[in-house]
Subunit: 173 residues, 2 copies
DNA sequence: GCAAATTAATGATTTATTCAAG
DNA sequence: CTTGAATAAATCATTAATTTGC
């Protein structure tokens, strides 16, 4: 029975082909794919079944971490599971994290992180400006009805569009 | 001089108003905003200057972590940078991470992670299928010209669109 | 043989650590 | 030194394997 049930979208369940490709890519040396790479891989693997970019990202993250973990804890290596053995023994990553300088991102940046939270949530309203505030001192009043308290935040800034945000957030305790 | 230089996009330099709002939101109890919340906050704060969603995400992440770190390692604070000091001392998060069950995400999920990498990169071509493979055994041949080596990956799966991916990835060592 | 119970794998988050720009 | 940005480690939670009792 293949993975990928129809309606049940609990979590991504990769197909064997998807796992195959990912594993091969990994064993070939790919460790932390770029955004574009992830996108391409995801697009590619979508031919085998439902998949998202974050799945690819997570897969590489987990696979990398667990590769190391298994290496350490392997008590008596009977066979080479990796099937690769291609060096990469030390790899003290120099981490030459140069700066983007040329982002390949779109302007539509949506978060995949933290899909939702089901905790105690309240509503918090952000008022862009009060009518009694001069133009120089715009005040953003944030009324957070959290725990019954009401608080006001003000930030003196330039003019900003008359937005009427209303975001619900979860608070601690 | 306000932050936010025009062309130089080294890294996000928040305005005082942005920091103000973020700090107030944080002190009011917001710890890990949801995707939508991040979006709204970002949209809101964009009125004060250039900002992206990931900036808000990172800000909360760092602020949370460093709040705890400073609590522990406080070695003589010359002045109160935080400007807040609003209680909220302990709050051991119960971490009741119920499951999403209803994602609020869009379908357009773009990565913000790892904008770019400037390391040794090579090209890797993915051939969808070879002509000598039966329909039952589709083979995806991946020829990775990394380090001069060529490797082939094959994944037996169903039919898939004739894609001609060509993704460059960075390899270790 | 099968389904509930248990265990093992592994997808998804959160936290801690690190790097580097300003 | 401060702090934005990024990654690795640790943890949680769910799904698949598997065991077990009938």
């Amino acid at each position: 029975m293949e993975a990928r049930v129809g309606a049940k979208c609990g979590r991504w369940n990769p197909t064997v082909e998807q796992v195959k490709v990912l594993t091969d890519l990994f064993s070939s040396g790919l460790r932390t794919p770029t955004t574009d790479q992830i996108q391409m891989i995801s697009t590619h693997l979508s031919a085998f079944g439902k998949i998202e970019s974050k799945n690819v990202f997570y897969w590489f993250q987990n696979h990398k971490a667990r590769e190391r973990h298994h290496k350490k804890r392997r008590r008596g290596p009977p066979d080479d599971v990796d099937g690769d053995g291609a060096g990469d023994g030390d790899h003290h990553k120099p981490r030459t994290r140069c700066f983007p300088a040329g982002r390949a991102k779109d302007k539509q940046e949506v978060f995949w992180q933290r899909p939702e939270i089901k905790e105690t949530t309240e509503t918090l309203e952000l008022f862009p400006l009060k009518s009694s505030i001069s133009e120089e001192e715009k005040v953003i009043a944030v009324r957070g009805d959290l725990c019954g308290r009401t608080l006001y935040l003000d930030a003196t800034g330039r003019d900003h569009p008359p937005l009427d945000l209303r975001l619900s957030f979860n608070y601690v305790e």
